[in-house]
């Protein structure tokens, strides 16, 4: 092949790659933001700040993407986050009183398992009763939110051990700890989705569940697992949120569900399942964090943020429609 032809084929591949659009938007957002705020926006510390803000939504969006890929949705992530954060902060308060300053791994694992269990219940109800995931997880969200509210009486409480305080605000090698955790979670789930049999099954189920079943794929089991994974990432995000605000805040997770969903959709994930990638979702997450950041930097009316986010989502969806 001549160099010229190679060039064309590379361009062609970029054009045909479904994540090209979100990454194009990402670059565009970066350029516009740099022009709007040349002194602060493109600095290292600001970029790290953006990434840190993105990391919690990012972790939620991983599980959300998996659930969307099997043709489902999970609206219970915010209350899972709130439950995890409040419960863990409460346990840590007791731990801290007893002089503990460390990671408190046992308790952390416990709340992560709790997240998985809620996902498991979501999945079992949706799959075995063949119900709409939208309604089931919406109800689950209200139920758990109610539990959290009763448990905390609606007020922030608990303490965070030193380790997690450091995690929430600290850096390793100049990178915020939360970002490192997000990156690790991304790597694990990228492998799960693209390099494992389970990942193949996820895409097959989302693409055509009946064909998948007749191909011998255990559709129900794999679908339930997707909700379990989503519950897990939501709980992990809850831990990160707690570390960041240094308290168990029952209302602190508001909006994360829709942000995660929006990030996945901006990244090219189809609500109907089977289409989408975590790489795309990553772009969606960063785009949204960047927009928040630049609007703050230029001192825009904070109420404008919602409007701009909404516009970005609309434009993204309109573009994807055209792609097909």
């Amino acid at each position: 092949m001549s160099k010229e032809a190679e060039k064309i084929s590379v361009l062609q591949r970029i054009k045909n790659n479904p994540v090209s659009v979100p990454y194009g938007v990402l670059v565009l957002t970066f350029i516009i933001s740099t022009i709007a705020s040349p002194d602060i926006f493109p600095t290292y510390s600001n970029i790290m700040n953006i990434l840190r803000q993105a990391s919690i939504v990012g972790v939620v969006s991983i599980g959300m993407t998996v659930v969307l890929l099997v043709g489902g949705i999970d609206l219970s992530v915010t209350s899972i986050m709130a439950l995890t954060a409040c419960l863990l902060a409460d346990m840590m308060e007791k731990g801290a009183a007893a002089g503990q300053t460390g990671i408190m791994a046992g308790q952390v694992v416990l709340v992560l398992i709790l997240g998985c269990l809620i996902g498991l219940i979501n999945g079992i109800i949706v799959v075995t009763r063949k119900l709409e995931a939208f309604i089931v997880t919406l109800a689950m969200n209200m139920i758990i939110k109610g539990v959290v509210m009763v448990y905390t009486k609606g007020a922030p409480g608990g303490k965070v051990t030193e380790f997690w305080q450091n995690f929430g605000s600290g850096y390793v090698l100049g990178i915020p700890c939360a970002v490192i955790l997000y990156a690790a979670a991304m790597i694990v789930f990228l492998i799960v989705l693209h390099k494992t049999v389970y990942g193949r099954h996820i895409y097959a189920i989302g693409s055509n569940a009946e064909a998948a079943r007749l191909t011998g794929i255990k559709v129900n089991f794999n679908k339930i697992m997707a909700y379990v994974l989503c519950g897990f990432t939501a709980a992990l995000a809850g831990v990160m949120l707690m570390a960041r605000v240094r308290v168990g805040e029952p209302n602190g997770s508001t909006g994360y569900d829709m942000d995660a969903l929006a990030a996945a959709v901006i990244g090219g994930t189809a609500m109907s399942g089977g289409v989408g990638t975590l790489a795309g979702t990553l772009a969606g997450v960063i785009i949204m964090a960047m927009v928040n950041n630049i609007l703050n930097l230029i001192g825009a009316d904070p109420n404008l943020q919602s409007l701009i986010k909404g516009l970005i989502i609309l434009v993204a969806v309109i573009f994807q429609r055209k792609e097909k």
């Binding site: 049999v197 055509n208 079943r213 089977g274």
Partner: protein, 499 residues
Amino acid sequence: MSEYALEMLGVTKTFSKVTALDNVNLRVKKGEIHALIGENGAGKSTLMKVLSGVYKADAGTVRINGEEVSIKNPRDAIDKGVAIIYQELSLVPELNAIKNVMLGQEKNTLQIINTKKENEFAKEYLDYVSRGSIPSYKVPVKSLSVAQQQMIDIAKALSYHSKIIIMDEPSDSLTNSEIETLFEIVRKLKEDGITVIYISHRLEELFALCDRVTVLRDGKYITDTDIADIDKDWLISKMIGRDLKDTFPPRHRSRSSETVLEVEGLTGERFKNVSFELKKGEILGLGGLVGAGRTEVLRAIFGADKHSAGTIKVNGEEAHINHPNKALKYGLGFATEDRKSQGLFLNQGIQDNILAAALDKVSVSGFMQSKKEQALAEKYFGELKVVSPDMDKLCKYLSGGNQQKVVLAKWLASECKILFLDEPTRGIDVGAKYEIYLLMDKLVQEGVSIIMISSEMPELMGVSDRVLVMHEGTITGELMTGDFSEENIMKLASGESVA
């Protein structure tokens, strides 16, 4: 006045770089039944979509009754008297017959629907088509048979005062007696001066029904002629561009006495007491009318549906198959009739589809091995001669024949030993059909055993080593090669016995 109801001259249509129609002509005389044939991908559907305003042609003229027209959209086509009955009927399943006919042309005064007027108007057309064969116009159409729904769709087309009606593969999902009824309706339309363009893969039908035929191949116009002047072989040679000596390949069988699958007293919702054996290396045909319970039996054996009684033995060992996943472990494979909704992952590439049932062969403890993946997929991609520039192409963009090849490749890659094929050549053109028959012959030579459901009698007799016929959920008879005849199969299929 022109002799032609419709003339499409020099129609050209390209999609990005692919030329779907290249200077195509179609001339349909007034009041005739005109067959439009060609292999899959020949351009029939594209041409009809140009006519019905779905696509806009790059070049060419369309004349209706000698008058040049430009059809901008489907609504425009209807206004100009052209209606199309798609294979997937365009009815709203929840609405009744009358509301379906009136959809988009509701009789109303200030948005208030005049039910009485609607009933009268719709009933006229429904009666004309159904002649009493639809029990009620007031039940949701989804509770009616496919044939009855089709009648309603035709009534809907007539209610637009259409002068040209296009039928796209109308007989595909009908039983033989329903096809007869359809023919009567089409002939009646002709008597009343309506021009019909009839698209079908079943060449026998064209000779029974149509007056003239236009042949397309690879997006080009080949010929048009009176049906009376030609025969089937000539037509096939025009369609595929070469002589096709044999419709079915010769059999190379070494059927052994070894029983690989034994079904005893299998009973389920739509079949009862079904018993049979499948020998190693044979093709067992399963004949009968649509709805006789053939698919249901295979689905039950495969674990896709539950059964209430009976035993299944694979290689002499009793098998409890409660999920297709188990069926795969016993070496079973099932290429379903409806490829798009049950067989393929349309939004995924060819490679992912081929490997879907063989992931354990290309992974190590749950992790995919991309080199192995590519090697295995390439093997069957090549063996089945799937026509595509690469294996990344999404399956939704493949033709029917190539889609079926991908489905078969999936099962071959799973290395199944017992393969169920449900209408394996439905909606596939003649050339690809022959390739699939060749493949089946090769598979049984390699020791695979096949059960094939087919509603096409020539295929059933031309490919099978033995035929079982079902009627209303039970097996009514078994025919060996020597006893194969359409008459025998028909008798068994309608519940009579064979002498």
